[in-house]
Amino acid sequence: MAIIKVTLLKGWEHPAGVKMKAGETIKVLPTLRDELLEGGYIAAPKKQAKKNIKK
């Protein structure tokens, strides 16, 4: 399972009771990444520009 590096946009309380600050970068499981995304704690991943494929 991939662990994803994310940067918090706003303060978030870790399940262990620690308050994490905006701007902090943490590595999270995909499930938590989805929860953070839903709660607006992290920015949505940028879509990669499609490459022009010459035929």
Binding site: I3, H14, G17, I26, L29
Partner: protein, 132 residues
């Protein structure tokens, strides 16, 4: 033989990887119950008892950031069981998931040494193994 780099093993606490870890280990145990009787022909007989496990992690203390020793200290303060994953991270690896209670947290700082932490969790309830 497809072995992989141990650096790729990570422990997550409450969904976040414990930061600045240098070592981690998972220990699984199976207790036994002795059922030897006079009819055992002089050989000890056992049946399986409780299964248990523990996860240990150690690493370097950080100046800033909350995902390392501060998260561990938080788990110690709350005293509650937290979700732990011992994850081989590699795509074909295995992942062990369980709740654990932090039973020891040690911080150390020696002269001209990087300050370290070490923590041990006793696992409680179901320990699940899945392929990643």
């Amino acid at each position: 033989m497809a072995v992989f780099n141990g650096t790729n093993i990570a422990v997550t606490l409450g969904g976040t990887a414990v930061a600045h870890a240098t070592e981690c280990s998972l220990s699984l145990n199976q207790e036994t119950i002795e059922v030897t009787t006079k009819d055992s022909s002089g050989m000890r007989e056992l049946i399986p008892g409780l299964k248990s496990g523990s996860i240990s992690i150690s690493g370097l203390q950080e100046v800033a950031g909350s995902a390392g020793v501060k998260a561990l200290a938080g788990a110690m303060n709350t005293g509650a069981a937290v979700a732990l994953v011992f994850d081989q991270v590699e795509t074909s690896g295995e992942k062990w998931t369980a709740n654990g209670i932090l039973t020891s947290l040690e911080l150390a700082g020696g002269t001209e040494d990087a300050p370290t932490y070490s923590a041990s969790f006793e696992l409680t309830g179901t320990i699940t193994k899945a392929s990643t």
